[in-house]
């Protein structure tokens, strides 16, 4: 793999920054140029991402595209990057979503306090950090990205959002900072412990052995520091209340990145850090976490059913979906973990589809209240169908990508925690409700006043939404490409935990 030693990861993180620099030199007035530069950059990054995927060795479970340079040797901090299957999939999702968001949100920067330059610079900086957070194999580096990420998002919500944007942005930032600081405490704990026992390092693979010397008490505390931070990010019930506000106030594009990518950092962190660093503690807390996950699934679904605002509705559906993901992760079965990872990937796209179409609808109607829409099916068929398909993938209709992941999660959980899986399965009925209710209210029925002369999707919007739907459908029937990337990594994680998939009860009988 000649590309392996080309530091593709650094390259992919550098490109957006270069784009930002380019933006800095474009005049404020030439908005179009700004957008073009942003789009070009993101597309370029996407290409690099795909290159990585192509050159990725599916067979080997370890980290690939590894880079490492000392950063703060005094603290044993390295600028260390590397990706396993799970990280690759998520990076792929991020770099694919960003250009789509740029296209779909072509005019999102207009409602904002600041110029388009600022908007796209923030997006690009955010992309760098998204890649970094998934790619870093140094706990400290991860934390830096994890926290620094908040700043651009904060300004994206507060500066370009709508409604109570400032309040929502603050809520988001405070929640995340609180979690982040708890995590900082744990990181300090790890740092001191690793110093005390042997060499001070933040290298994830080295630290994976640390738990052997920790007291259970200590391990539990360190685990909690990480987990709470991730549970807030993910978000898991009852630490979710920032999400609906943020998603409602942010621009659709931002919401896509927020729900599609940023929240994944939480679930990704659970796999990469909670499980790897603190296997014992993970076992200890699994019952609690599974419970919370199941609650999230049903709770989020019910609130989605009760939601009056379409963006809040989507946010709540995500809470439900993140419940599934978390459940799958802590089920400690290959099906569960692979399913959860695939779920992260699929959720990225199905939520993107939902949010983008919702964004198109809102931008036409200047309202995000479901009740204001009605009978769009007859006025704007293409938009209506896009929304419908996105909805179907959100309720995990077989034949669409999310079904595979959701079912894997359920099966994987059932083999170890049947009760949880059974309760969670009721979520699929609720899902039908929370998707079909808005579909009926907004798309079906007679066309209500104010909607008669909405225009259907234009070419740009079609271009933005088409690839997403394509991915949703194709992966629904043929998920193997992604699953093949995920499986080895997932298997490794599970075996690191010292778990093996429960054998069929029948073979126990024999």
């Amino acid at each position: 793999m000649n590309l392996a030693n080309m530091n593709l990861l650094t390259l992919s993180m550098l490109l957006p920054l270069l784009g930002t620099v380019a933006l800095a030199f474009t005049p404020k007035t030439s908005v179009l140029l700004t957008k073009q530069i942003a789009l070009a950059t993101t597309v370029l990054v996407a290409v690099v991402g795909i290159l990585m995927a192509i050159n990725f060795d599916f067979k080997s479970p370890g980290f690939q595209f590894v880079e490492s340079r000392p950063w703060v040797p005094a603290f044993g901090i390295n600028y260390a990057l590397g990706i396993d299957g799970i990280a690759l999939v998520l990076i792929l999702m991020s770099v694919l979503l960003t250009p789509i968001v740029v296209i779909a949100g072509w005019n999102e920067s207009e409602g904002g306090r600041w110029s388009a330059k600022t908007f796209y610079s923030l997006i690009l900086v955010l992309e760098t950090m998204m890649i970094g957070v998934f790619a870093s194999t140094d706990v400290f580096l991860f934390y830096v990205f994890f926290e620094a990420m908040l700043v651009p998002v904060y300004f994206l919500i507060g500066g370009f959002g709508s409604g109570e944007r400032a309040a929502a942005a603050v809520k988001f930032l405070l929640y995340s900072l609180f979690g982040g600081l708890l995590m900082l405490a744990s990181i300090i704990g790890i740092f001191v412990m690793s110093t005390r026992y042997g060499n001070r390092t933040f290298d994830i693979t080295t630290l994976a052995g640390l738990h052997t010397v920790l007291t259970p008490m200590m391990e539990n505390f360190l685990f909690l520091g990480f987990f709470i931070a991730f549970a807030i990010k993910a978000p898991l019930w009852p630490m979710h209340t920032w999400l609906p506000d943020a998603a409602k106030s942010a621009t659709p594009g931002t919401s896509v990145l927020l729900l599609g990518v940023l929240d994944k950092v939480g679930t990704f962190g659970m796999i990469r850090y909670c499980l790897t660093l603190f296997p014992e503690a993970s076992k200890t807390f699994t019952p609690l976490i599974i419970t919370l996950a199941v609650i999230s699934i049903l709770y989020g679904a019910f609130l989605a059913i009760g939601a009056k605002d379409i963006k809040r509705l989507i946010a709540y559906t995500s809470i439900s979906h993140f419940g599934f993901i978390t459940m799958g992760i802590f089920a400690m079965t290959t099906q569960g973990l692979s399913g959860a990872t695939l779920y992260m990937f699929n959720h990225g796209f199905s939520t993107a589809a939902l949010f983008l179409v919702a964004g198109f609808m809102i931008s036409r109607r200047n309202s995000s209240t479901i009740a204001d829409f009605g009978g769009l099916q007859r006025v704007t068929p293409i938009m209506a169908w896009s929304f419908f398909i996105a909805g179907m993938s959100s309720l995990a209709l077989p034949g669409l990508s999310s079904f595979v992941s959701e079912f894997l999660v359920l099966v994987g959980t059932f083999t170890r925690y049947p009760v949880a899986a059974v309760i969670a399965t009721f979520g699929i009925v609720l899902a039908a409700l929370y998707i079909l209710i808005p579909v009926q209210r907004a798309l079906h029925g007679p066309t209500t006043p104010g909607n008669e002369n909405l225009t259907d999707l234009n070419l740009r919007e079609k271009v933005a939404i088409a690839p997403v739907i394509a991915i949703i459908v194709v992966l629904g029937f043929y998920p193997s490409p992604i699953l093949n990337i995920i499986n080895p990594a997932a298997t490794t994680v599970i075996s690191q935990q010292g778990f093996t998939d429960p054998a069929p009860t029948i073979s126990e009988g024999k």
Partner: protein, 629 residues
């Protein structure tokens, strides 16, 4: 097992049709319906070809498979996208594509003046493809895809005119009640994987005996739940009546002939599960019995011709489920009734459609009457279907239903008597309400006002009806001649020892026919010989009123599920707003509050600052002193 690369075309053709019609959009308006019909017919042709191939092979090597690709493979959970065509699925393939094609043809004319006809045909093709996947999938998960696929198609077609709010609601209702059933199916799959380590039919069949009965019972009951949801059986029957919102061809194809019978397919397909789980099997029979009565009773009170037919569909499927619940003895007859029912019920629905077509979409039978003169062909085809369903020999229904009743009676002991009795009684009631439909629509004096101009439908509509009518006449005889179907399907099922006959067959047939006669007689007396009001009379018995409201099914569902659900939702919304978010805000306010109260210590007076220092000094000394002790 023999592999065959041709199976995929069965699905591919209609799927291609659906996609191309949907993606091409208005461009395809001109010829879309023709393409769709052609593809459906093509699929039927492939089916016939496969049948001939199959007939050419020895019994044991008849089933053929085709592996398309590896679908999901994670750890020990491996599911291929692969198809299985055996004696059972071929029946369905032919029924689906055959009846499907006929209904395509019928729809060309029936939907001719609908602006969205192309979309309609796209959905029809989508349904055909999904239904074929359902019956061709070689594992429960593949079946699941088709299972929800047909659910989607039915949702789309019921809501085809979803600009009418009521229709939109009906489609939603159907989808959600189906989802409840689907939940059962996913439970079944999970249990199967967790306990047997496989989800393929063959795999489950292999382990069916080695697994504990409890496991198999669990799987069985979950499969039953799925079947109940899809086949509108008690207690998930409520959606079928409303599903009549869809265009009539849809009701004929999906909600009479094919999709609603998927439950029967599932249970018969899973015979090895139920044979290993008697309890589940008994439950199946009981559900079937209940539903057949339920549907029959509702049928007696409906004035809406399509609703009446829907009720009868429900009841007829009840028969099939009952048969499927009778174990190896009943499977074949269940399938046989399914096929014959496919013919005559589809035919009658198309007939109803033709009547509506002639009566400006009037569906209330009390506004019909004396249509025999105006639409003779419809009358004849419908009539043949009618004779078939009430089970008059030698029409199709007679054979299949008679066998079901007989098998039920022979099920042995009290069980046999109860089930058989219900079946018999059901036959009578069926005769009654179908006669009622017949009389109200065709033979009774006219009750429609003069701006109605009933007329016969064009050939594109009556030709399919005619063909189906032929089927309703002959299919029963053909299928049961020398137990053709029974032997055809036998290799799939376990051997079963002959039951002791409770009554000789001839007696059973006699009883059945008597019941039918009584039913017909009652109907004739009540509707032919006495005046029928054009508006439904209010001064009717409690029972009639309840029956008109589908035995309160919707009221019960609302009281038990919808209302509580809505309450729970609103409660949770408030809870989230006030309690959880409130707690978060509360923490913020606490910080704020304590901040501004501590702020007061900053009085601005030097002396109080000095005092603070003094106190601090004292405290510090004290602290250090304490630890020194």
């Amino acid at each position: 097992m023999v592999t065959n690369s041709g199976l995929v075309y069965l699905i591919a053709l209609p799927l291609f049709g659906a996609l191309s019609l949907l993606l091409l959009g208005r461009r395809a308006d001109k010829w879309g319906h023709l393409l769709a019909t052609a593809l459906s017919a093509g699929s039927f042709a492939v089916g016939l070809f496969q049948l001939s191939e199959m007939l050419g092979r020895a019994t044991e090597s008849r089933p053929v498979t085709q592996k398309l690709f590896t679908w999901i493979s994670v750890g020990s959970f491996n599911v291929d996208a692969s198809l299985l065509l055996d004696q059972l699925s071929i029946c369905f393939v032919l029924l689906i594509t055959g009846v499907g094609t006929l209904i395509h043809i019928y729809s060309i004319s029936y939907m001719s003046d609908d602006p969205d006809r192309r979309r309609f045909f796209a959905f029809l093709n989508l349904f055909i493809a999904a239904m074929l996947l359902l019956v061709l999938g070689d594992s429960y998960l593949n079946l699941y895809v088709g299972w929800e696929g047909v659910g989607l198609a039915s949702y789309l077609l019921i809501g085809f005119w979803n600009q009418k709010a009521a229709y939109a609601t009906a489609s939603k209702k159907a989808f959600i009640m189906n989802r409840i059933g689907d939940m059962g199916l996913s439970f079944a799959i999970m249990i199967a994987f967790a306990s047997l380590g496989t989800v393929s039919f063959s795999g489950v069949k292999e382990n069916a005996h080695s697994a504990s009965e409890a496991t198999m019972t669990a799987i069985g009951i979950m499969l039953l739940v799925a079947a109940v949801g899809k086949s509108a059986q008690f207690p998930l029957q409520a959606w079928l009546g409303d599903a009549m919102a869809g265009p009539t061809p849809v009701s004929a194809l999906i909600h009479a002939a094919t999709m609603v019978t998927a439950g029967v397919y599932l249970i018969v397909r899973s015979n090895f599960v139920f044979d290993a789980a008697p309890t589940a099997q008994l439950l199946v029979a009981i559900i079937g019995a209940i539903t057949l009565m339920f549907g029959a009773l509702v049928g007696t009170a409906k004035d809406d011709i399509k609703k009446a037919l829907a009720a009868s569909t429900m009841s007829q499927i009840g028969y099939m489920i009952l048969g499927a619940g009778l174990g190896p003895a009943g499977y074949a007859f269940a399938i046989m009734h399914l096929l014959t029912h496919g013919f005559f019920k589809a035919g009658m629905f198309l007939g109803a459609g033709s009547v509506m077509h002639g009566m400006n979409d009037e569906v209330n039978m009390r506004k019909y009457g004396a249509l025999r003169k105006f639409m003779p062909i419809t009358f004849i085809t419908f009539g043949l279907g009618y004779l078939a369903i009430i089970g008059v020999p030698p029409f199709a229904g007679f054979y299949s239903k008679d066998m079901l009743i007989e098998t039920a009676l022979n099920a042995g002991g009290v069980k046999g008597i109860l089930l058989g009795g219900t079946a018999l009684l059901g036959a009578g009631i069926t005769a009654f309400y179908m006669t009622r439909v017949m009389i109200l629509t065709f033979t009774s004096p006219k009750r429609w006002d003069d701006n109605q101009h009933p007329h016969e439908s064009p050939i594109l509509m009556w030709a399919p009806m005619a063909i189906l009518a032929i089927g309703s006449v002959s299919s029963g005889f053909l299928l049961s001649r020398g137990d053709a179907l029974k032997h055809w399907l036998e290799p799939l099922f376990e051997e079963h020892g002959e039951h002791t006959e409770l009554l000789p067959p001839i007696v059973v047939s006699g009883l059945a026919l008597t019941m039918v006669a009584i039913g017909v007689a009652l109907a004739v007396v009540k509707y032919q010989l006495s005046e029928v009001e054009a508006v439904a009379p209010e001064n009717v018995t409690e029972f009639t009123q309840i029956a008109r409201r589908d035995l309160l099914q919707d009221e019960i569902n609302e009281a038990l599920f919808m209302r509580p659900g809505q309450v729970l939702t609103s409660v949770l919304v408030k809870f989230d707003e006030s309690v959880i978010d409130g707690a978060v805000r509360g923490i913020g306010q606490i910080a704020m509050g304590s901040g501004s109260s501590l702020r007061r210590t900053q009085t601005g007076f030097v002396r109080s600052y000095a005092m603070l220092i003094l106190i601090g000094a004292a405290a510090l000394i004290a602290a250090i002193w304490v630890v020194t002790l």
